[in-house]
Symmetry: C2
Subunit: 304 residues, 2 copies
């Protein structure tokens, strides 16, 4: 019986970890992935993650802080809060994903981020209805528009899903019990000419939620948390590519430093002051009121 346990192994093992080839070794372990696209995505993710760790020489303490940050971000999520989307938003990842998926076509209305507040279904409303069920103040406003395709043909019956913050900068889900559920949300159906119109109030700029890890990150990086004032729109119809975008309020603070990098020049509209008693009465609005017009051009999907 020998107790010489210090001897070298007769046959060295292959495939062990080496820092120099770390990403290759891990990528090789993914060889059995049956979904080729998943394999491509994970291999790229592994290469970039390993390159990041090497580039900054991440310390064990910094790694642990990263693990804590990610864990807290996941645990902050619930039915009305999506902290990982918020993280993606403030790091410009959401806007980048949007950009890489949009065909370059100057005729189309530009898209922007969906944001974390589209988590409840909007109630169906009739053209001309108001989304403001709370009636807690704010400047009454008319939004009009027309959905056409790139040939200028109207998209009859297009769905226009809208949601927005109130005059204090809060979404309904941030004020449970204080405002009616699904306040300032609405699903409208364009008429035969692709036209839509509805009443609402002018939204206020607002801070993204800052009571979680993303708020801590913004503070540590000296960034403010505000989004320029906007109304979200999602425009869809059979045979067209769904458009997720915003209508920004010209003159709003933070148009040039939006916390989620969501502003595009072409999406900013004047919310004009209108003084026209007859027109106001026709829409059931007080006089004067504000008006924004937002023509929308969408892409017809190629027929299969």
């Amino acid at each position: 019986m020998t107790e010489d346990t210090q001897e070298a192994r007769a046959v060295p093992l292959s495939g062990l970890f080496e820092a120099e080839r770390s990403a290759e070794i891990v990528a090789a372990s993914l060889a059995g992935t049956t979904d080729e696209r998943l394999k491509e995505i994970l291999s790229s993710l592994v290469r970039h993650t390993h390159a990041f760790v090497k580039e900054v020489g991440l310390s064990a303490e910094e790694w642990a802080a990263g693990i804590r940050f990610l864990t807290e971000t996941g645990q902050k999520c619930d039915d009305t809060r999506q902290e990982f989307i918020l993280l993606s938003d403030v790091l410009g990842v959401s806007m980048l994903v949007d950009a890489v998926n949009q065909p370059a076509d100057g005729r189309l209305t530009e898209s922007t981020v969906e944001g974390p507040f589209h988590m409840v279904d909007s109630p169906a409303r009739s053209l001309g209805d108001s989304t403001d069920e709370a009636g807690r103040g704010g400047e009454p406003c008319l939004v009009t528009g027309r959905v056409v395709d790139t040939d200028g043909r109207p998209v009859a019956g297009a769905g226009i899903d809208v949601w927005q913050a109130d005059a204090d900068g809060f979404y309904d889900v941030q004020r449970p019990g204080e405002v009616p559920e699904r306040n300032l949300r609405g699903l409208f159906t364009a008429d035969a000419d692709g036209r839509f119109w509805f009443r609402t109030i002018v939204p206020r700029y607002y801070p993204v939620p800052t009571d979680g890890p993303v708020g801590t990150l913004l503070k540590a990086t000296g960034r403010h948390s505000y989004r320029a004032a906007h109304i979200h729109l999602e425009v869809s119809a059979p045979g067209i590519r769904t458009l997720t975008t915003h209508l920004f309020v010209d003159g709003s603070p933070y148009l040039d430093s939006d916390a989620v990098f969501g502003v595009k020049e072409s999406l900013i509209r004047t919310f004009a002051q209108v003084d026209d008693p007859a027109r106001a009465a026709g829409h059931g609005l007080p006089n004067p009121f504000r008006h924004a017009d937002f023509p929308v051009t969408v892409r017809r999907e190629a027929r299969p």
Copy 2:
């Protein structure tokens, strides 16, 4: 009063998002970060993340799947489960962080990952004690070693914190109520000559937890979830750099395909069969027993 709301802005906004310069634009937003190291880390992270999104052309659906995966990973974490560390482990990131923080020095005992099971304090035990309080079977085993520095001087009184899976491949925290708390854990103190010895049972190879998102990932990539059999050791003392490592059991399955890439050839030891009634009796072990010797060389920190 005009209602021409279609006019172009007189002065274009600066600093808006552009896909081509996306990482630069986001990195520029971090200019106010007072902690220079945080700024460096986040800027690198943003560059690599944006490069990944562009390289694979991440679709909105793939992005959403990623958000769901990260959220579920965070929500799987609790006091006895750290799914983000597990994710870091199976992607080789933990081993890489370990590697970039270890000075290249062939004289030192190599380090490896800490793993997710070092979440409870090990009970202080006397040299020669057994960590096996459950007595539910397994091959009795003696582990011996000596802690020295790179000059061969013993590190008297070094702390040797050990934790391991049982003969079925489970840690104590995975069997609450079934085994004593802190079973197969122990904090030993080396003698004046740096020597340590304790009794335990030979650990079994085991799967990492697969009932969470990381398990789903392993399955989707055709990878098994097993770790080669090992005993964790953390060796510390005033004035030395703490060493976190494993003692691997030679002959264990999965030494060449460890799920977390944790195996290093130099850390594998024969758990020799010893047939010596007197020696067995001296240690309070049945005869025959298994024995592994694990000499440890640590680095003295430079005096400030």
